[in-house]
């Protein structure tokens, strides 16, 4: 039978251990704004809770670096007609998400067409990164749509699109 004193000591140790196990988790979040040093060349993983919830509800929360600021501005200004769906947000949420997207947008030059692209799949970067993907893989029902990043990019949810974590379903 444990004595009361021993029990209190054990409890104190348990609390201490629990506290320590939480610390590294918050460390990971704190790291979100820093360069992850990915092999694909400067993939900066940034995050915003509202962006992740709102944009990530129907599709992967596409990282801001995948479109230039003017594209994000155009996308966010037309949420009521968002690729066939009314994805309108309240004004405060839209403002916060737009700022996050624009601040972390791609800084590469404008696309040739002149007007802002609304689809990531139409950007030069997307096309060149995916040019080796076979047509039959795009048609695979498990992939369904190029919007379904997570079908092949197993870590897409955490913003990691590195080739290491690509697994094309068969």
């Amino acid at each position: 039978m444990l004595r009361a004193k021993d029990f209190i000591r054990m409890f104190a140790v348990a609390v201490l251990v629990m506290g320590m196990s939480v610390a590294p988790i918050s460390g990971v979040y704190a790291d979100d704004d820093e360069d992850e040093g990915d092999d694909e060349g400067q993939q900066v993983v940034v995050s915003n809770a509202l962006w992740k919830t709102e944009c990530g509800a129907c599709h992967a929360a596409y990282p801001p670096r995948m479109l230039p600021a003017e594209s994000w501005h155009a996308v966010m200004s037309g949420l009521d007609k968002h690729f066939g769906s009314n994805a309108g947000l309240d004004a405060a949420s839209a403002k916060e998400i737009t700022a996050f997207l624009e601040e972390n947008a791609s800084t590469k030059g404008r696309e040739a067409s002149g007007k802002p692209l609304l689809r990531i799949t139409e950007t030069r970067e997307f096309k060149s990164e995916h040019d080796e993907v076979a047509a039959r893989d795009w048609k695979n029902p498990k992939v369904k749509s190029p919007a379904n990043c997570g079908a092949c990019h197993t870590q897409a949810e955490s913003g990691d699109f590195s080739e290491h974590n690509v697994k094309i379903p068969r």
Binding site: F11, H59, G84, V143, S145, A147, N148, G150
Partner: protein, 138 residues
């Protein structure tokens, strides 16, 4: 000694309560709120799970139903009909987060009804569907 265990028990219970308070409402409370809204409609006679099931599974506009994304089995994992993104189960029995935040419920009914019916759903329709979903078991 016994008293110590009692104190420890209190601690665990308190921790449990804290965890639960992450949910603003329960599905039953959400249903009650929808009922309060529906009661204002003339001729309201309560909700029906059968009617809710039929509404959930019937294709409305654009060849879409609730089941198009949430699947015929609301306790199963769904899939977005356009993007293919995985959708967590809709039935509260299979996903305890569902229908626990009135604001979220209102937002998604509005958005999804607009996609599927080109209009917002009535309180009657929403109440019928939730009544049905509460009968779906894992």
């Amino acid at each position: 000694m016994n008293r110590l265990f009692f104190v420890f028990g209190l601690f665990v219970t308190a921790a449990g309560f804290t965890a639960n308070s992450a949910f603003a409402e329960t599905p039953v409370e959400v249903l009650a709120a929808i009922k309060a809204e529906a009661s204002g409609t003339p001729g309201f006679q309560g909700f029906s799970a059968t009617r809710g099931e039929s509404f959930y599974k019937t294709k409305h506009n654009h060849d879409l139903s609730c089941a198009s994304c949430h699947t015929d089995n609301a306790a199963a994992q769904g899939k977005h009909s356009e993007t293919g993104k995985v959708i967590k189960p809709l039935a509260p029995a299979a996903n305890e987060e569902r229908f626990t935040d009135m604001k979220k419920v209102a937002k998604w009914f509005k958005r999804n009804c607009n996609d599927v019916l080109d209009r917002e759903c009535t309180a009657q329709e929403k109440g019928d569907v939730l009544t049905y979903l509460l009968t779906v078991h894992k």
